[in-house]
């Protein structure tokens, strides 16, 4: 017989261990799906998870994709920890890319050391402003931030679409939906010759360090964590709830904006329709998988980046659509959420025979 009891407190070891269970179950699940579709599961999984990172170029690509995921997820961890459901990071990323890209386009024919910092700053501010919309509506009009931030994703994507086909499109671009190329001064410096990994990774690492400091060493971090655990306690303690909501959304938006600007000044080098392959949504998975912990998020961003990379490799070798990466991303979150059940409930397997004997 199985008996389920509610735990009084969550065991920390299990809390950081269940993500690994989720990853293993996802790989098994992926193998089963490949088998059903008529592929050799071992071979398919090898193409997915090993081939992409078996050379230097692959590793660089992994870090390249992990960078925006890590940045966004770090920002989201502030929101999620304080019970603010910002799920519009994709929109904040896009708007950050629009503002940063706009500044880069202003300087398209100029060079100068000051340009890149300006572009990056503009991107962060853009993301921040865009995240303030759901935050202000939540604090002053009591609207649901989940729905508002989600709706704004599509608004920002349509705005980008309008800009790249309309006013910002490259005058010499034969009507392609893209802007001019940015000047070299607006581009992230590459770390290694011939690889695409760029200096944006330092932004992500700085964000990790800074968020660790803020969350665990400052009064603000303490307020955020307390509000996440119990809103009543936070009110009783006299925390300024409204200010905190605005602050966490601004942090989150700035991080997403940075991720957006990192993409356009890094691998892309201009604005076009596809600034992000839904990094903003996938980063939600990263934040959960990393347990909203700065260092956990680094690990999680690498795992999730591998699903993007694996999907691209599998597309080449197995001729399957690259959307399959999303099957793995979805499964990771499913299994992770499911295994959270073990955190809050104790599953006891009782020995039936003994009980019967006693009766």
């Amino acid at each position: 017989m199985i008996k389920i009891e509610k735990r009084n407190d969550v065991p920390m070891a299990l809390y950081f261990f269940t993500p690994f269970i989720a990853i293993i179950l996802t790989i098994l699940g992926g193998g089963i799906i490949f088998y059903i579709l008529g592929f050799n599961p071992i071979e398919a999984l090898k193409f997915y998870f090993i081939t992409p990172i078996s050379n230097l170029y692959g590793l660089s690509e992994l870090l390249l994709k992990a960078t925006p995921l890590c940045l966004i997820a770090i920002g989201l961890s502030f929101c999620f920890k304080s019970n603010n459901w910002n799920i519009g990071a994709e929109g904040q990323l896009t708007f950050g890319a629009i503002v940063g890209g706009g500044v880069a386009l202003l300087f398209y024919n100029q060079e100068g050391f000051y340009i890149l910092p300006l572009v990056i700053l503009a991107g962060a501010i853009g993301g921040m402003i865009f995240a303030l919309i759901p935050a202000i509506l939540k604090t002053y009009f009591n609207t649901n931030e989940i729905l508002v931030s989600l709706m704004l994703v599509y608004v920002s994507k349509l705005l980008l679409d309008y800009l790249v086909v309309g006013p910002w499109s490259n005058p010499e671009g034969f009507n392609f939906p893209e802007t001019r190329q940015f000047s070299d001064s607006s581009r992230m410096p590459l770390l290694f010759e011939g690889l695409r990994i760029h200096a944006g990774i330092f932004l992500a690492l700085a964000a990790v360090m800074l968020s660790w400091f803020i969350l665990y060493k400052t009064y603000l971090g303490f307020q955020i964590k307390v509000s996440g655990l119990s809103l009543k306690t936070a009110k009783y303690a006299g925390f300024k709830g409204k200010t905190m909501i605005l602050v966490v959304f601004m942090i989150s938006g700035a991080c997403a904006g940075l991720a957006g600007v990192g993409e356009i000044t890094g691998p892309i080098g201009q604005l076009h329709r596809m600034v992000s392959p839904d990094y903003g949504f996938t980063a939600i998975i990263v934040a959960f998988l990393g347990r909203l912990n700065p260092f956990g998020i680094i690990f999680a961003s690498l795992v999730v980046a591998l699903t993007y990379l694996g999907a691209e490799t599998a597309q080449i070798f197995l001729q399957i659509p690259k959307y399959t990466g999303q099957v793995f991303q979805g499964m990771i979150l499913f299994f992770l959420l499911a295994s959270d059940y073990l955190l809050f409930f104790k599953v006891k397997i009782l020995n039936l025979k003994k009980n019967e004997l006693r009766n």
Binding site: I4, K6, I33, L37, W85, I87, L137, F141, N142, T143, N144, I146, L147, V148, L150, M151, L152, Y154, V155, L158, L159, D161, Y162, G166, D278, F281, T282, I284, I285, F288, Q319, I320, P321, Y323, T324, G325, Q326, V327, F328, Q329, G330, M331, L333, F334, L337, A338, D340, Y341, F344
Partner: protein, 310 residues
């Protein structure tokens, strides 16, 4: 003059056709949300419905099986969401997002061999009346049976929620799960049923796209309609009749875009496309500002986890 009138008739008919997937998905999601469950997986369930409907049509050559199968596939995929959120008490938002991401990926995987296969013509009803009656002909006749079903669904949903005992149960579970539970209602079971119903309707909405509206399979062919349907439920302030009106407005915007593109109108199409989302935000602000209004309109326990100590 008569040419213009008949053109307007055809235009209205096409607006109705484009609003069908929105009505179906939003009506399903409305019931789910009325029971207190926020399922952000609409897009994922729709796309699964679209590929299963199309695949079954190609394999069995039977449209009835395809339609029923698409609804079943919606039920099956929403069962994942139901099991996680209701039995394992997971967060609704995260689970719903996972469902959408998973659904888009899985549909592309399943649909790999169905890309480029032409669809089959879906039977339309009263096609002779469509031609013979000016103006009203293209509006009222010559549609698929799914369209007629979609346009009666909001009224049925309204009747169900307001006039039947089961509808009252659903509303009670959504507004106050604790007192409903104390009355002896099995909250989890009711929510399961509402989630599965939502899944079936989203599956049907997807099949409408791949079997009737644009009869073929294209990766990611729902193209954000699931999110619009989700917005629509909020836009309609959780009222079925307003879902119908909202779907016609949102569907109208889509059709208007196509025509404006065709005649080279000045307003950028992207602004029109953004309108449904902006209108939804405005409606949210208007209803949320007043705490009385939001209580009247929103299912009180929307998105909250319900757990009963055994």
């Amino acid at each position: 003059m008569s040419l213009e009138i008949s053109f307007i008739g055809i235009l209205i008919g096409s607006i109705m056709a484009s609003s069908v997937p929105l009505i179906l998905a939003a009506s399903g999601e409305l019931i789910t949300e009325r029971s207190g469950v926020l399922n952000l997986g609409v897009e994922g369930m729709m796309i699964i419905g679209a590929i299963s409907g199309f695949a079954l049509m190609v394999i069995t050559d039977n449209l009835f099986i395809a339609i029923v199968g698409s609804m079943l596939s919606g039920v099956i995929i929403s069962l994942i969401f139901g099991f996680l959120t209701q039995s394992l008490l997971t967060n609704h938002v995260a689970t719903g997002l996972a469902l959408t991401i998973f659904g888009i990926g899985l549909s592309a995987m399943l649909g790999k061999n169905f890309v480029g296969i032409p669809g089959k013509e879906f039977p339309i009803l009263f096609s002779s009346l469509r031609e013979s009656i000016p103006f009203f002909g293209p509006i009222l006749f010559g549609h698929s049976i799914i369209l007629y079903f979609a346009f009666t669904l909001p009224f049925l949903t309204n009747y169900f929620l307001k006039k039947t005992k089961l509808g009252l149960v659903v509303r009670a579970v959504g507004d106050s799960p604790v007192s409903a539970s104390n009355q002896g209602i099995n909250v989890i079971l009711v929510r399961y049923c509402c989630i599965l119903y939502g899944g079936a309707m989203c599956g049907l909405a997807g099949a409408y796209l791949s079997l009737i509206y644009t009869p073929q399979w294209i990766e990611n062919m729902t193209a954000g309609r699931g999110w619009i349907a989700l917005a629509l439920v909020v836009f309609a302030t959780w009222s079925p009749i307003k879902v119908l009106i909202g779907a016609l407005i949102f569907g109208g915007i889509t059709i208007l875009q196509l025509h404006m593109q065709a005649i080279g109108f000045r307003i950028p199409v992207q602004f029109l496309s953004a309108l449904p989302y902006l209108m939804t935000i405005i409606v949210l602000v208007v209803i949320s500002r007043d705490s009385r209004k939001i209580k009247l309109n929103t299912p009180t326990s929307l998105g909250r986890i319900f757990y009963k100590e055994k």
